[in-house]
Every structure is written in structure tokens, then in C-alpha cells.
Subunit: 203 residues, 2 copies
Amino acid sequence: MGRWGPDARGPLEQAAVALCLKHGYAQVTVVAIAQRAGFSERTFYRHFADKPEVLFAGFQYFHDNVVHLVTSAATSAAPMERVAAAFEQAGAVFPENAEQLRQRQGVIDSTPELRARELSKVATLTAAVTRALLQRGVADPAAMLSAEAGTLAFRIAFATWINATSQEDWPRLFRQTLDDLGVVITSAVSHGTVSVKRPRVSI
Amino acid sequence: MGRWGPDARGPLEQAAVALCLKHGYAQVTVVAIAQRAGFSERTFYRHFADKPEVLFAGFQYFHDNVVHLVTSAATSAAPMERVAAAFEQAGAVFPENAEQLRQRQGVIDSTPELRARELSKVATLTAAVTRALLQRGVADPAAMLSAEAGTLAFRIAFATWINATSQEDWPRLFRQTLDDLGVVITSAVSHGTVSVKRPRVSI
């Protein structure tokens, strides 16, 4: 199962994805997921608060990695650079888990409840990255803006990566997406109907 | 009630906010909301699919305005500029509805179910703005990136606006936020561990 999720969490997520693909998310029970993975229902609930949560075991692992990398990054780099490097490096596990990630995303994309949960997970990651930067001495709004921009670039790049027919290089794709976002945003700045003062954000 | 929401939708949202502030979201029923606004339960369900939806009547109005403005913008401006101008202009109704918006946000922020619904609404707006740009001849990924960046700047600027003690000028605040995002993102670009080719995005 590669490095995508330690202990019982990874196998439980894999079992959940397999069952959801076969029967549909609504039809799958926690008991069935636990049984297929070789664990008890009790073990399931020791790891996950509810059924939808099991489909985000891998995301939680990714979340923790990103936050750890941001927290341990050298403070000599710009906050945005620390965030970008964290998303690049935490995504190193994507290729070896590509098929599992693709199946899992298929289940999420076809279930409104899971799509909503995914948006909440991404928002939680943004908040955690912001906190990590603040703890490392970055001031707001730079901390929040770097976290928001990094998470947005991750979301867009991941959707591209997972839907690509050939496997794209994750760090290159992430960096390209962030770069593209900068190009697009800058195309509006200074062309607006409102005159903009010098940026108040300090990096 | 200003121009924040036409017909029965505005009054129903106002009634819902007032009742939620008084009793808590979980305790408020659709019947109570309809009664307070002077409408029947049937009228409520003609306008809203479920209880949480009533708290997004104003947002739906804003959504429709943004999409209309993007759709009717001159194609001579860059896609990002069209999106930015739309968010600026659609926010013209914020000041006259400031108190209602603040109360409504208080209800949403204190209810996980509503926070999740809000994230879905914002994602739906991003998708609608992307479609509007594509229909007006903008290519992807520029359409999607402009929509994502615009929606992100809106989300950040709106959170700042609604929490400000003195009332900030919405167009200036939105433009400043977008500008700040551009500054922050560009601070990482070209400093990465991965060499980035020329941006593939065409504006």
C-alpha cells in the first residue's frame, strides 16, 4: 500500500474505496469496510469519527506532512516559498499511490456529501498552514495569503494531476500552477478601475 | 431591506437570521421562519430546497450578479480584470446590508453544517464564473485560474470586510487583496527548487 497512510487507516481507506466503487457510497456500511480490511467496527471508530472520514485517511496524512514541512522549513525563505516547497515535497507520495488516489477521487467526486467534506478538509489545511507560519514568526496577512494561495495551487494542480492520462511530474505541475496563478492575478493588478496603493503585505 | 435579495427570499433570510440569533440554528424550524416572515411553509419550499439554503439567499443574489457582470463584460479586458471588476461591482450592495450580513455570517460561522454549505456555494460560484468566461471565448486554464483567483480574493476580502470595526471601502479592499495575493505568489515564483518554464497560460 505504499507510504499512503500508516497503520490501520490506510487499509481501511482502501477497503472503503473498493467497496464504494463496487456498491456505491450510500450502500456501504462501516461494518463492511472494517470486515473487508480485517478489523473490527470498534477499530474503525478508533481511527475515524464517521463513515465519510475514512475516505480522507490519505488526505490527513498529506495534511500532517504539509504542516510538518512548513513548520520545519528554514525561515530564511519567503513564507510562500516555504508553503510551495511543502506542497511539492508532501506530494512525493502521489505517484506510488496514483491508482488508489484516482479511485478514491472518483468516489468523492460522485458523492455530494464527500465533495463537501473535501472542501472542509482543504479549508482546515489552509488554517493549519496559516497557524504553522504564524508560529514561525510570519506576520498576517502574509501567513494567511501564502497558505490560501498554496492550498489553491495544490487543489488546482492535484485535479490536473489526477485527471491526466499520462503521469505528470508533481513538483513541476504544482510549481507551474502557482506560477500561472501569479501571472493571471498580475494581469489584472494595476489595470483596475480602482487605483491601488503600494501593497501593504510584507513578505 | 435594501437591494439584498428580491421578493420573498430576502425577508425569509432576514427572518431566519433573526430566529437563529435568538434560539440557535438547530432549534429553528422552517415553519417558524416562514411564519415570522409572513409566508407559508409552502412558499418557503418554493424558494429554498432546505433549511440551510435560506441563509444563502443573499449569496445567491450576489452569485447571479457576479456571473451576469462577467458575462456582460467587454472582452477587450483581460479575463482576470473582468472577474475582478465583477466582484467589485457586485459588492456594491454590501454597505447598505452590512448589519444583516454581519448577523448572517455570525450564524454561519457558528454552525459547521452552514460553514460546509458556504464552502460549497463558493465552489459553485467559481465553477459558474469559469463557465461564463469560457462562453465568452476565454480559453482554459486562464478561465479557471481567473475564476479561482477572483473567488479566493473575494473570500479573503469579504472576511476582512465583515470583521472590520470601521467600514472599509469594498472595491478598494477587494483590489488590495487581489494585489496582495499577486505579490505573495510572485515572491515564490522563480525561487523554487524546480526550474519553471515560461508560463503556459495565455491571458
